[in-house]
Each structure stands twice: as structure tokens, then as C-alpha cells.
Symmetry: C2
Subunit: 193 residues, 2 copies
DNA sequence: AAAAATAAGTCAACATGACTGACATAAATG
DNA sequence: CATTTATGTCAGTCATGTTGACTTATTTTT
């Protein structure tokens, strides 16, 4: 299992590769390469199916995909603020408020005032929340594991790089921080439980 | 530029790789590998941003993401039937009907009765339709091209494989056929225009 | 200490795109 | 002629996104 920091450091090397490629002269017109459109379609299909099993489970609870996203990130990064979630999901306070309220009311997420800044509501998954988050993650992880096996584990870093570079440049560093921060949480978790 | 059939043939080798990996004994529990969750999150972020620029363009026309999907597939595979679209998008006739009607009314898609079966409405993009489809595709292709450059072109087939294997098994052959069929259309296009 | 900024929650109103279930029409097929 | 199929449509519902304005509690700035 590769270390997270190692993997994240690798993501940066992609930038150099892009610069090098750009120096090779004017890039071929993107609309002439049919492989690009194939990839775009594959991404659509991959994502379409990626959300299917969780959606079915969510139905049992009267939840939707929006609840999944909120619960996932709160579970992954306990202690997250509401503002952080808004940044990640890129939705409005209104939209988030609705689903968050339901998750809190139904006992999947607990709020607690920040210690240094008591205006903040730090979000934590409850035991039920963790359980549901894991159940929702399972089919998705199976799917990713399968696809990873099929593409050869050697390709894993390239795939991470590809997906990482698909993120808008302005948001990449935020995601990078997110990937690192949840790992720090992971280490801390042993103490808390 | 790799031949499409060669690339699709490659997709099948992934199956063998999965079988081989399975023989190595009981697979490690997927929930213990943090890299899998990272990939799942990266996929979320990649898709989140993948749809942003097109969404903005669609706004100008009073269209939404659903219109994009319909127009994209009709443009990619002219002559497609309504039933094909339903299969691909996995939505109901009702949902499709609404957006399709708008695209037809606004002159982006034309319908024509099938020759062998006149119940079928074969869907074609109009000149305006092709223009809009290309405009919507452009930022997405740029994004994919960028990400591909960053991950190294050598990794391209692994990335295609990964995304392909993320598709539910039952739908893979359908997608494979789709990827091939639009290419046949591509060859024919020269004659028609 | 007063004023301004910030974090969060809430109100009302609205749009989009999903869903269900039933039904209509035209054409093909047995 | 009866049935099946491909498509379109009606009516109603729900989930999730939007905007803009406003409140409350708390922190920060002046």
C-alpha cells in the first residue's frame, strides 16, 4: 500500500509533464482525436454506474445522492465545518442545509460548536452515520478495486493523476489538501474511539 | 492516433487480468485500502468539474445537462432511435421526452421515420445541433487532453481500461458497441454531407 | 465599547430533471 | 384480426439545485 504523501507528491509531477508537452509545439486540435471523445463518454458511463448501487441503498432511508455526498465527506473528515462542505460540493447553503438538517435530525451526523470559534458547527458522523457511510462506500470501493485490477496496479498512479488533472486547476490544491487531511484524521481516529 | 478497434480489443484483456488477480487468493478487504477511497473521491471531483463549462454554455440556450447528454449521443451516433437513447441514459421515456421535444422544437435535432420500421423515429443532429454539440464538447475535450498529457500518453490505454471496467458488467458490451458504432458513422459522414 | 465581518441557519419562491402509472397512436408481426 | 412494439403524452410527485433577503451568535476590527 503506497503512502498517501508519496502518492500526492507524485501528482505534482504531472504539471511538469504538461509543460514539457506544451513545449513540443502547437498542440493538435483536440477535436480531431476521437480517443478524447471516447474517454469523455467512458467517464460519463463510469460515473453513471458508480452511483447506482448507493442510490438504491439511499432509497431505503428516504435519502438521495445529495445525502450520500454530505455523509461521505463528513465521515471522511470528521470535524469539518459547514463552509468546508459548501466549498467541496459547490452547492448553495440552501441546498446543503436541507439535506444536512435531515441527516442531523435522523441521527447520522452530529454537530458541535468549534472550540476556538464557537460560531462554527463542526460536523461529525455518529455511529449510525459511520455505518451507513461504510455501507454506501462498499459497492463503490468494490467497483474501483475491480477496475484497478483490470487496468493493472502499475497503472494506478497514472489513473490517479488523470483524475486529479481532470479537476479544475483552481480546485486542485484544495483537493490535494483534502486527500491529505483525511489521512491525518485516520491516524487520530484510534485515539478517539 | 490509435485505431478504435485496436483500442477496443485491448479492453477485453482487462478481463483476463481480473481473473488472474482473483486466482491469487482471497482479495484484501477493499475497505482497508485508502487508495480506493481516494480514487472514488477523485472521480467525484473530476466529474463535478467535467460538467461545469458545458453547463454554463447550456444556460445561454435555456438548456440543462440533460439536453447536453441527448444532443451529445445523437450527434455522435446519428440515426439513433429513441429506445437506444433510453438504454444509454438510463432514464424514463418521460424524462427523455421533455428534453428531446425541446431540442427538436428548437431545431437542434431532427426526427425521421425509420425506413424498414416506420414506427421508429431516427434522430439526427441538424447543422445547429452539430455546432452546439461541438461547442459543448470543446472544453471537455480540452480537459481530457490536458489530463491525458499530465498522466503520460503511455498510460492512455490503462485509463481507458479503468473507466471501461468501472461500467457495470451488464452494460459493458453495450458501451463497446456504442464506441465502435459511432466510428462507423464517422466514416459514413463524409458521404452524407 | 461600538461597528463590522463572519459562520451558520432560515424564509419564500422557483427551475430542472428525475420518477410513476396510465393511456393513445401508429405500425409491425403473429 | 389480435397482439406486440416504438413512440408520445397526460397528470402528478419528488429531489435537488438556484436566488436573494434576513436573523442570530460570535469574532474581529476600529
Amino acid at each position: 500500500m503506497t503512502d498517501i504523501n508519496e502518492r500526492i507528491r507524485d501528482l505534482d509531477t504531472g504539471v511538469d509533464r504538461v509543460k514539457k508537452a506544451a513545449q513540443k509545439g502547437p498542440r493538435a486540435n483536440v477535436s480531431t482525436d476521437p480517443a478524447l471523445l471516447d474517454l469523455a463518454e467512458l467517464l460519463f458511463f463510469a460515473y453513471r454506474d458508480f452511483t447506482r448501487e448507493p442510490d438504491k441503498i439511499l432509497d431505503e432511508f428516504g435519502f438521495g445522492r445529495a445525502h450520500h455526498r454530505v455523509l461521505h465527506f463528513v465521515n471522511r473528515r470528521p470535524g469539518m465545518r459547514v463552509a468546508d462542505l459548501l466549498e467541496i460540493l459547490k452547492i448553495t447553503k440552501q441546498s446543503l442545509g436541507r439535506v444536512l438538517k435531515q441527516l442531523v435530525d435522523d441521527g447520522f451526523i452530529a454537530q458541535e460548536a468549534g472550540k476556538s470559534d464557537r460560531r462554527e458547527r463542526l460536523l461529525h458522523p455518529t455511529a449510525h452515520g459511520r455505518e451507513l457511510a461504510n455501507r454506501l462506500a462498499e459497492p463503490q470501493l468494490e467497483r474501483v478495486a475491480h477496475a484497478l485490477n483490470a487496468s493493472g496496479r502499475k497503472a494506478q498512479s497514472s489513473i490517479e493523476m488523470f483524475l486529479y488533472q481532470m479537476i479544475s486547476e483552481a480546485d486542485r490544491s484544495q483537493v490535494e489538501r483534502l486527500l491529505m487531511s483525511k489521512d491525518r484524521q485516520h491516524e487520530k481516529r484510534e485515539e478517539r474511539e
